[in-house]
Symmetry: none
Subunit: 127 residues, 2 copies
């Protein structure tokens, strides 16, 4: 379990991370929302903590877990190498998506999200 990529490969862990995006949560809250046995939650949280994805605060008998940014940045940095793959053609692709997906252009909510969104000013910036 070395790399951040192995950490986020596990679906339950991604579920936990997604939960924590809203706000910090206790183990019990995560357990209930994800309908996951408590030891499972604890074990995944341990992995996530040791990998730096979360940190915990003590609150009486509970422990509140919240996200930390660094490992996500690491993934993002890795993705960086590959962005040119789609940012080059993103204009075309984007208008394509706009045409077929979300008909209302003003609210990209979680549904059909807009990825990287670094179409503008990519490498070099000289357009």
């Amino acid at each position: 379990m070395e790399s951040v990529f192995e950490i986020i490969a596990e679906p339950n862990r991604r579920a936990i991370l997604s939960l924590l995006v809203a706000s910090q949560q206790s183990v019990g809250e995560i357990e209930r929302q994800l309908r996951m046995p408590q030891p499972t939650v604890s074990k995944h949280l341990r992995v996530l903590r040791e990998a730096g994805f979360v940190e915990s605060m003590v609150d009486a008998q509970r422990r509140l877990y919240r996200l930390k940014p660094e490992p996500f940045q690491e993934v993002d940095d890795w993705l960086e190498k590959f962005r040119r793959l789609w940012s080059d053609h993103v204009d075309a692709l984007e208008s394509h998506l706009d045409r077929m997906g979300e008909s209302s252009p003003m609210k990209s909510k979680t549904g059909r999200r807009r990825r990287g969104s670094n179409r503008e000013r990519d490498k070099g910036g000289t357009k």
Copy 2:
């Protein structure tokens, strides 16, 4: 081996992907550059192909593999949820505008590129 995250969890596969970023490569070229047994390369390439990370062209007895963008976008979409973690101040506004709609492309003053990985930004930047 369902999700894109499991695919990129494997270090050798990430190495192959990184190689292919430069240009398309044959199996033998990958094999030599990564010093990896040929069956290993072929098997990983199969996984990558089935997951949509690469596609192959036939060139005589060789097969040339090259990257495809879609799965990377999928990872990027997932990351999107977490970007607010590290782009909280200045970038928050930027990415917010970015997401809300097509703002005018050239808005980054210092010629900062993309807001994907704003590591560098964090150190020098706004305190």
